[in-house]
């Protein structure tokens, strides 16, 4: 230390009271620690916790997934004609607008899918759980993935939207989820398999991956409907308009 530096330091240091440098350092350290902790906590909530997948591996891919990890489920596997355009539908079972879209467009989508006029890929998102502070989106998304294993994806999907509660956030009970399976026509040993898959959250990690990959693809709201990769949600008016757009996109 230079001899004259001491005097300078003495001049800027307050003679009494707390030292702002020390308090400032403490506050800054607290801020940094809090930010790091917040990022760590936020990041850890992305992967599925152990009790969401009790008894199951939680990472198993359901049947008919397309597009790799976190891809959507093909609602009409093996049915689509070779020239049929692909419709990607991003929905959350708790989203009222998705319920409205299903009412308006669901029958047209289902009939086009069954006739092979489109390849219908459904991405069941679960972000509304965070907003609504429940777990119904994740549980119902897992349940419909289990229904895909039983070959009853479309039927189960329709049953859930048919029973969507009028009040957003009411969610679905476990009993309701089982009821939907019966409505969808899952019976006998298939029902037992479905039940095990559902209660164990067998596809919980898959459900989380779907949410993540949809987010990465820029889908930040539901419903989102893409025709051959192009988002046409905002332009969509009626079911017949959708059918016309599909026809135009058929090669």
């Amino acid at each position: 230390m230079r001899p004259d530096a001491k005097k300078k330091i003495a001049k800027v240091t307050p003679k009494s009271g707390p030292n702002p440098v020390i308090i400032g350092a403490i506050v800054a350290a607290l801020v940094i620690v809090a930010v790091v902790v917040a990022i760590l906590i936020g990041n850890s909530s992305k992967s599925v916790s152990a009790n969401d997948q009790v008894g199951g591996s939680g990472s198993a891919q359901p049947a008919d997934v397309t597009g790799g990890e976190g891809g959507g489920i093909v609602a009409n596997p093996g049915t689509a004609k070779s020239n049929a355009p692909t419709i990607d539908l991003y929905e959350d079972f708790q989203c009222p607008t998705c319920g409205a879209l299903e009412k308006a467009m669901g029958p047209a989508l289902t009939s086009m899918a069954k006739a092979g006029e489109i390849k219908l890929v459904v991405h069941t998102l679960s972000f509304l759980d965070d907003n609504l502070k429940n777990d119904s989106s994740k549980r119902s998304a897992n349940a419909v993935a289990c229904a895909a294993d039983a070959g009853k994806f479309l039927e189960y999907h329709a049953a859930v939207f048919n029973a969507q509660p009028a009040q957003e956030g009411t969610g679905y009970t476990d009993a309701q989820l089982t009821e939907f399976a019966t409505t969808a026509g899952i019976t006998g040993p298939a029902l037992a398999t479905w039940q095990k898959c559902t209660t164990s959250g067998q596809h919980a990690q898959y459900v989380a991956d779907v949410q993540d990959s949809a987010g990465r693809a820029g889908v930040n709201s539901t419903p989102t409907l893409k025709l051959n990769g192009q988002d046409i949600t905002k332009t969509l008016t009626t079911a017949s308009d959708l059918v016309a757009q599909v026809k135009a996109a058929t090669k």
Binding site: P14, G17, P18, P20, I23, G24, V27, L30, V31, A34, V35, V37, A38, I39, I41, G42, N43, S45, K46, F127, D130, N131, K133, G215, R216, G218, N220, S221, K234
Partner: protein, 157 residues
């Protein structure tokens, strides 16, 4: 009004600026701090930052808002806290205007929520004006950090 009276008035304007900016930050952060995933999605909806980095920003932002809101309300390290608050507001204004001009229809997620909404529900102008007003509060405090009833006055004088 003499010089002392003007100084006193300025200290009260400083107090008002501090409390306005501080309380808004505190409330905005407090509403978001318990749902980091929602906050992350709100930041991602702006489609400005890369996906993962936007997530980190979303996780950190509510905590930063709460802490600097507290510092401002208490009047501790007012100049630095106001600088941080002001830079946040500047970033928000830029983000909102950017989303607006790119034709996105999103909720800014300023007080929780966020993500795409219908075009008629957007309120970009109101959001920008509010944040610009708060940035003005911050600017006042950066230029003139002395304010009435601050911890800075108590501790460091």
């Amino acid at each position: 009004m003499d010089a002392r009276g003007r100084g006193r008035l300025a200290e009260f304007i400083g107090l008002l600026a501090r409390l306005t900016l501080g309380i808004v930050l505190l409330v905005a952060g407090g509403l978001k701090v318990t749902s980091p995933a929602v906050s992350a999605r709100a930041v991602r909806a702006f489609q400005i930052l890369p996906y993962d980095f936007a997530g980190y920003v979303g996780y950190a932002l509510p905590v930063v808002e709460v802490l600097f809101g507290l510092l401002l309300v208490a009047g501790l390290f007012t100049r630095v806290s106001a600088l941080v608050g002001g830079l946040l507001m500047l970033a928000f204004v830029i983000g909102i205007i950017s989303a607006w001009t790119r034709g996105l229809t999103i909720d800014c997620g300023c007080f929780g929520g966020g993500g795409t909404i219908e075009a008629r529900q957007t309120q970009y102008l109101a959001d920008v004006l509010r944040d610009a007003g708060l940035a003005a509060c911050a600017a006042w405090l950066v230029v003139r950090p002395r304010s009435a009833y601050s911890l800075d006055n108590r501790l460091f004088r």
